[in-house]
Symmetry: C2
Subunit: 338 residues, 2 copies
C-alpha cells in the first residue's frame, strides 16, 4: 500500500498511483485528525471523495505517529494524550475516538488504536504496552460496530518476546477481527530481529485472514517477510527515498545523486512499463535531483511506487504458480546487477 | 513561453506542458552553463533530447540572471564576469561564449547577451548599458553565424528613456535579427512605466517580426502589452505562484492558502479543460497547500500554465477575428467575479 499520509501519495497524481497497479492506499488518522480534521473530511464527502481515489483505503489508527511524531505524549488507560507536531495543540485520542475518526473518514480497513514503543525497551514495558493494546483492541472492536463492506484489523504487539507476541495474537483472535497486523517492528531493531519476530508471531495468526506487517520496508524486507507468511505492507520508503534521489529498480537501489550518473544516457530500466523508469536518462534524473527540482522527486517517487507494485505482482504470480522460492532467489540475484 | 529554467518547467511533466497548448518553452543559459554545463548537454544530445521536449526552445542569454542571481559580477567591454550562485565558482561570459553555449544546447531561438540594470538607475548608466549591449549584439550576431531553422533575437535596452530605446531599437534593426526583445523591464518600475516604455519602443521595431517582452508578467500585464504590440512573453509567475498557493483562473487570482477555501467543494473552474482546474476541490487544494504537499504545488503550477496558455489562445483568436478590444474588456470584467 503506497502511503498517502495526509491524503496524497507524496509527489504522485492518484491516476499514476492507480496505473502502477495499486489497489489500495493508506491514510493516517493522526495526520488527518489534525489537518483538515475528520469532521471536515466527512462534511466534504469522506476521504475517497476528498482526495479523488475510488479504490479501497486503509487508515492507520494514530498509535505509531503519536510515538514517532507528537511532541509530548502521555498514555493512560483511557487514551493517548499528545501535542500536535504542527501547532502544539493538545489532543486526546481514545480507542473509541480513533474508530470514530476512521468511520468519519470512510476508510475501508480501520486499524485498532495501539500503544507503540520505541526500540530498545524493557520486557516489562513491552508487556504493559501489549496488555494495554489488547484492552484497547476490545474497545476498538466495539467502537467499530457494524460497517458492512468494511474491515477492522487488530494489531499484535509484544516487542521481540515470543510469549508476549503469542499472548497478543491469541488475545486478538479471540476478540475476532477481519485481519491482523504485526505492529511495533521496523523501529530500529534491525532486519534479523524483525524477521525472527515475524517467525515467532505468525504461527499464532489465523491462516485464512490477511496478515499485515506495518511500516515495512525495503524490497528485501518484503521478500523475506512474504517468505514468512506476510500478505500486506505499507511503507513511506518508496516516496521518501524518491524525494531524496534514490531509485528502486530491478537492478537494485540506485542513488541518482552519485556523480557517476552525470553522463549516463541510459534510463533506469528500459524494459519497465513505467515511463519514470524507461523514458528519462539517468543523467537527466541526476541533474534534476542535484538541482533540487520537483520533477526529480516526482519521477523517482513514481518509479519507486511502480517498482514496489511490480515486485508485489511478481510475488503474487509466483505464489500462484508455486514458484515463490525461485522468484525470491532470482529477484535477489538481479538486484546485484545494477 | 513556460519557463524551464534548468531544463524542467517546475512541477510539471512536459507532456502536461504540451497538453496545455504550449508550443515553445524557455531555458536559461546562465543556469544550464553552471549545471550540468553546455558541453555536457551537447554530449547527451542537446537540450531537447536531454529533457525530452520536441517542440522549439528559446534560451535566454544569461544577462538577466547575472544581474539578478550571481553573487559578484563585473561587466567589462569584453565580458560579464561573475560568481556562481550555486558554488561561488568564477565564470566569464563573453557574447561569443553566450552564443556558443546556446548552439551547444541546440536552442531554436537564441538571445543576444545584454547588460541588464537594476531599477532605479541613472540615465548615464542606462545609456552605457544600452551602448554596450548594442556592441555585444554585433558580436552575438557574428557568433550566431548561419544556423538554418534557428533564430537569433536582439534585445532592446535603454531604461525608460525614449531616445535610448529608439537608438537601441534602430541599432539592432540595422544589424538585423530574426526577432526583437524588449529587455530591462519588469525589474521594479511598475506597470505604468513598463507600459509607457513599451509604447515608446514599439514604433521603432519592425512590424513583420516577432516582438518579445522578456520576463513579463501577470495576466493583466500580458493583455495590456499585447494591446501595445507585443507578441511573445516568458515568465516564472505561473509556476512560482503555483508553488506558493496562488491560482490564476478565468475568475481572477485565487489564494488557496486563505482559510475561506477550507470547506469549499467547488473546483477552481469547472469548465476548464485542465484537470487541475476542474477535478480538484478548492478545499483539497487548500489542504495540500497548507500541508506543504508536493501535489499542491504540482496542481497549481499546472493550473496556472494552463490558464496562461488559454489566455494566449483567446488573445490570438480574438486578434484573428478583429475583436481583441472586446476580448480584453470581457476578460478583465470576468477576473472580478471570483
Amino acid at each position: 500500500m503506497p502511503v498517502g499520509t495526509v491524503g496524497t501519495v507524496k509527489g504522485l497524481y492518484l491516476n499514476q498511483v492507480k496505473a502502477t497497479g495499486t489497489d489500495i492506499i493508506l491514510g493516517n488518522t493522526y495526520h488527518l485528525m489534525l489537518r483538515p480534521g475528520a469532521e471536515q473530511v466527512a462534511k466534504l464527502g469522506g476521504l475517497h471523495k476528498f482526495i479523488g481515489w475510488n479504490g479501497p483505503i486503509l487508515t492507520d489508527s494514530g498509535g505509531f505517529q503519536i510515538m514517532s511524531l507528537a511532541k509530548i505524549r502521555k498514555i493512560t488507560e483511557q487514551a493517548a494524550v499528545f501535542q500536535s507536531h504542527i501547532d502544539g495543540s493538545r489532543h486526546e485520542l481514545t480507542p473509541e475516538r480513533a474508530m470514530d475518526i476512521q468511520r468519519l473518514l470512510g476508510s475501508d480497513i480501520q486499524m485498532q488504536l495501539d500503544q507503540c514503543l520505541e526500540y530498545p525497551h524493557t520486557e516489562k514495558a513491552a508487556e504493559e504496552a501489549m496488555q494495554l493494546s489488547l484492552r484497547w483492541a476490545e474497545r476498538c472492536r466495539r467502537g467499530f460496530g457494524r460497517q458492512p463492506g468494511r474491515g477492522n484489523f487488530g494489531i499484535v504487539q509484544g516487542g521481540i518476546n515470543e510469549r508476549l507476541r503469542r499472548e497478543s495474537a491469541e488475545g486478538l483472535t479471540s476478540i475476532g477481527f477481519e485481519g491482523y497486523a504485526i505492529g511495533g517492528l521496523a523501529v530500529g531493531e534491525g532486519q534479523d530481529l524483525m524477521l525472527r519476530t515475524i517467525e515467532i508471531t505468525e504461527p499464532h495468526l489465523p491462516i485464512d485472514q490477511p496478515r499485515y506487517l506495518m511500516g515495512v520496508g525495503t524490497p528485501e524486507d518484503i521478500l523475506e517477510s512474504v517468505a514468512r507468511g506476510i500478505d500486506m505492507f505499507d511503507c513511506v520508503l518508496p516516496t521518501r527515498s524518491g524525494r531524496h534521489g534514490q531509485a528502486f529498480t530491478r537492478f537494485g537501489k540506485i542513488n541518482l545523486r552519485n556523480a557517476k550518473h552525470a553522463d549516463d544516457p541510459r534510463p533506469l530500466d528500459a524494459k519497465s512499463p513505467c515511463p519514470a523508469h524507461s523514458e528519462y536518462s539517468r543523467a537527466y534524473l541526476h541533474h534534476l535531483i542535484r538541482s533540487g527540482e520537483l520533477l526529480g522527486m516526482m519521477l523517482l517517487s513514481w518509479a519507486n511506487i511502480a517498482y514496489y507494485q511490480s515486485l508485489m505482482q511478481g510475488i503474487r504470480a509466483a505464489i500462484a504458480e508455486g514458484s515463490f522460492e525461485d522468484f525470491r532467489a532470482a529477484t535477489k540475484e538481479q538486484w546485484k546487477r545494477k
